[in-house]
Amino acid sequence: MSNTVLPFFLMFILIILIVGFIFYFTSLRNRFEIKKSDSLINLRKSIGLSIEHGKGLHVSLGKSDLNNIHGAASFIGLETLNQIIDQSILSDNPPVTTAGSGDLTLLAQSQHQNVLNDKSSGGSDFVSSAYLSGATNLSYIAGAIPPSSNETLSTQIFAGNIGPEIGLLIDSNNKKNHFSLAATDSLEGQSVSYACSEEVLIGEEIFAIPAQMSDEKMFKVSLLIQDVLRWFIIAIILIVLILKFGGVL
């Protein structure tokens, strides 16, 4: 990052922290209602039905490592997995998790391991239900297709960084008539998902999954800050536009 951008970035972080503290420690956040996404409502219903009917779930966390720009989407995938594991803790079938990067796989396995500890039941096959399906973009998809075409599944969630190759996963999913939700931070992935999938999250909606799936204060505050910042950026763009038209800039 260049030295001229750093002060602006620092200011940006300070704004985030100040707005975050205001929302977190005051009742101001209660004045704002988070609009529920229909796709996520349907996902929750589908997870409930899967547990009720003893069917399985497949969570695909994408292919991005955590130490690059797409890592945030991978973290959202992990948080989604956490919420799904929480909801499906009573299910006979633990969710199958596939990932395309090593660190993501280990974190997903650690989530599964925690559930195993909570349930206090033995058995090693539970841990192996989270695994690396491939280390490159297409090998990850090729490895994720067999678990996603499993007859015993009923719900699939693709949350993370997945490119246009997500079309292959959704296609195999559509053939089996499973419920699927596609949420990726890749633009190409989003457009392919929109064309192929019934339930899709566009743009920054992927970052709203934790807030919509859990009641934790932190996620709601994070989403509110995101909205405030969005309006802040819109205001800046409009001001610059007016100044440009006015001949000031």
Partner: protein
């Protein structure tokens, strides 16, 4: 009675140990996160050097994690081959392919021409066939699109896809000798850029907030709440 007390003490110890582990992890991750951010803003100071060390360690940990994940993948396929319950016809191919590449790589070295040719030929042919399947799937999806989705957004999506396909094919650039056509062409070409920039701004905001949440230790993806 004694058994119950011992059992209670043991459970209590387990909970305390787990809580200690969580606190330790939170301190380590938050401290590393704060050091990384400070190193970013003060690159000339010692914090900048610390930041580079932490990033180096993260890369090493990532590489080790990948190795562990690959061993785990191998064991998953091994179990699929040798267990009666979850047999998968693809698993033997994976094991044979994996062992072949591993042995050739160890014996000849990763820079040997035969090894490079072997791996790249396999990867390119498999990926090319997957891309072909993807192209077919997308073609079919575009035919099914309007049957599945019949709302305003779908209509806009469909029309804009066809329109921009035609635009990027260069059909409007034929009339660029007219200044109006040139302006129109430029304006229309900036529309997809404007749209994608808008989506990317939203994604970047979400990514920044998610990263800050994790860097400051507010969100911990490594353990359950």
């Amino acid at each position: 009675m004694v058994y119950h007390r011992d059992h209670f003490n043991c459970a209590d110890l387990k909970i305390r140990r787990s809580a200690m582990k969580k606190i330790f992890l939170v301190i380590i991750s938050s401290l590393s996160g704060i050091l990384l951010i400070l190193g970013l803003f003060f690159p000339e100071s010692i914090l900048g050097i610390v930041r580079f060390y932490i990033l180096d360690w993260a890369i090493i940990v990532g590489a080790v994690a990948l190795t562990i994940a690959i061993i785990n993948l191998f064991s998953v396929h091994w179990n699929k081959v040798f267990s009666n319950e979850k047999r998968d016809f693809a698993s033997p191919f994976f094991i044979v392919g994996f062992l072949t590449v591993l042995l050739v790589g160890i014996l000849l070295g990763p820079n040997h021409k035969f090894f490079i040719n072997l791996t790249s030929t396999t990867i390119i042919s498999v990926e090319a066939s997957l891309m072909a399947v993807l192209a077919l799937s997308l073609g079919l999806a575009s035919f099914r699109f309007f049957r599945k989705k019949q709302n305003l957004l779908a209509i806009v999506f469909g029309i804009s896809t066809v329109f921009f396909l035609l635009l990027f094919s260069g059909i409007l650039s034929l009339g660029e000798k007219f200044s109006l056509m040139k302006t129109l062409n430029t304006a229309l070409n900036t529309l997809p850029i404007a749209g994608s920039t808008g989506i990317l701004i939203g994604i970047s905001l979400g990514a920044i907030l998610t990263s800050l949440r994790i860097l400051f230790g507010f969100d911990r993806p490594y353990h359950r709440k």
